[in-house]
Symmetry: C2
Subunit: 346 residues, 2 copies
């Protein structure tokens, strides 16, 4: 899912997003709650019409943003969490009922539960409390009104603590959600510890419902969690890298600021059919990036989104053909070889 934080996938017109192969787009409840406000979006016909995207939209609950911005929290209790907005410092309070109502008014296709996301390495007692509150809030949000046809996904917490993660999984899984997510991972723990948890936690999610891993977006990481049974992910990586002049390619990352591209007539990625690769050279993109031209950001963002969508489409096909292991090994080998190649001075 490409990320449209503030009701736009940065740099991509919805038509280009569609052309890149996007299906579900993610938008952030935290940001839209403040700017422009759920009431405004509702008055304008809902989020789909507002942002000109007629495909599915998943809205997160805002929990991740609030708990990541720990210094803005003034009170976290059993009922909800009070914090100062990053926009104007005004106090706001999120509860399961509030975020349900905001997402109802946004009219997203998939709403997410408000969860308590502790930082990595917290004392076990705090982690245990976050699991208990996340379960309690999940039950409350399940009982709250939703938009017509809106799905609701539950989120388990528990960090990389096997007992607490298992407890959270069990408590969330027994509730009647339309899909399930693993939250509170990729928040600072090692990649190994994260994957060790996903190893057993993803297969333990309720069968027959989509499984969403919150917080991985690099090509290898995506394949790592797909391998463990995950269906959905989101990440700002492709557009963020695009805005810093970096392209994701089958041969590894290209930093377009590198002088070796100054007269390179090749596309970013010879196997890509995106709007950048089908028409423009690395030399032109390097020129645009070097001159801080908007079109450079636009083209690189579209390319990177397309690259990750192609990667996951390839993974889906490989799974259907029972060839995922080979697909992943091939992709990772090419990514790795090229990263090494990039370190050779040119």
């Amino acid at each position: 899912m490409p990320v449209g934080t503030k009701a736009t996938v940065k740099g991509l017109h919805p038509d280009r997003l569609r052309a890149a192969g996007a299906s579900v787009v993610l938008a952030n409840t935290y940001h839209l709650f403040f700017k422009p406000g759920a009431d405004t979006i509702e008055a304008l016909g809902g989020l789909h019409r507002f942002m000109g995207w007629d495909g599915p939209i998943l809205t997160d609950s805002g929990g991740f943003q609030v708990f990541s911005l720990r210094h803005t929290i003034t009170q976290a209790d059993a009922e909800g969490v009070t914090f100062r907005s990053v926009y104007d410092g005004d106090l706001a309070r999120f509860t399961p009922e509030l975020v349900a109502d905001v997402q109802r008014r946004l009219g997203s296709d998939i709403a997410m539960c408000l969860d308590v996301v502790p930082p990595p390495g917290v004392p076990r007692a705090e982690l245990e409390l976050s699991v208990a509150r996340t379960s309690d809030w999940a039950r409350r949000q399940l009982a709250a009104p939703r938009a017509e046809g809106q799905l609701l996904f539950g989120i388990s917490q528990g960090g990389v603590d096997p007992e607490l993660r298992r407890r959270s999984l069990d408590e969330i899984s027994e509730l009647d959600f339309d899909g399930n997510a693993l939250g509170g991972l990729s928040v600072g723990e090692s990649r190994e510890a994260m994957l060790e948890t996903v190893d057993w936690a993803a297969p333990a999610l309720p069968p027959g419902r989509p499984r969403y891993f919150m917080g991985v977006g690099d090509p290898e990481g995506i394949l790592d969690v797909i391998e463990r049974g995950v269906d959905l992910f989101d990440c700002v990586l492709p557009t963020r890298l695009g805005r810093t002049g970096t392209a994701l390619t089958r041969e590894g990352r290209l930093n377009l600021k590198n002088a070796r591209f100054a007269r390179d007539p090749k596309p970013l990625d010879e196997e890509c059919a995106c709007g950048a690769c089908s028409r423009f050279s690395r030399a032109y993109l390097r020129h645009l990036v070097g001159q801080h031209e908007l079109l450079g950001l636009i083209l690189l963002s579209e390319h990177n989104v397309r690259f990750l969508l192609d990667l996951t489409a390839g993974a889906r096909t490989a799974i259907e053909r029972h060839e995922f292991g080979r697909y992943k090994a091939d992709v990772v080998e090419r990514l790795g070889s090229a990263t090494a190649g990039q370190e050779v001075p040119s």
Copy 2:
């Protein structure tokens, strides 16, 4: 002609530029000479392939940039002009032969002569010298090699001094150019003084050749010079306004930062069919602009380019129907009434 200063019309993918109705695009020899360099663009197959634009391209000579950046000039003599680059401060020297060669290597469809552009209000002797050198340089550039099929336009100087403007017109008009331009206007003199000169100077240009007025881009100004017989103009106004959150509309300019648009479901301009107006509300565009989202700049830039191209297409049709006077009066009246409306606090 939308302006693609550095081989890109800021914020517009070539496909969107085409969709907006663009035909000729202008690119700047000064900037491309330094970044990425004419040799690089030539090595990559020329400017059309480099920037992905298969329509006509007009390249200016760089004269306007050099003489506008007066403080960078270290020597101006009969042979050429030496100056320090705005990119790295290195010395560079433009002569008619050099800019002919640069434009030959860029491979533009229309090349422009290197002219001497004096600032407004210079002593008459300096203006007279600029006229003489511009004519001499025009003859030299006419003799220089060009790209195959490349057209060359001459430029007259003389400011708003009737005698010197007439002398320059006569000297340039007798040379075998493919088109003619009025240069050295809109450089600080009053709009009245400028139009007074265009009044007699545009009709005095050689018949049967395109007439290009360098340096007007606001809707009224464009109609003012069309009325006096001008065929071509260029201006950065539409994309520059777009990047500052301002939309050109048939009802005047809209500053999208204005709170009155917060819930406005209307398109920027109800009569516009651009990629912004066909899908997005003023409220969404205001949100994007307020949040510094790239898509806001992209959509406003496309809209503004389309608006000016529609304006000139309308003028062409009106001329063919012998209704230009009424067309202009109607357009100007609507623009004016709305500007007044905008000043009412809301």
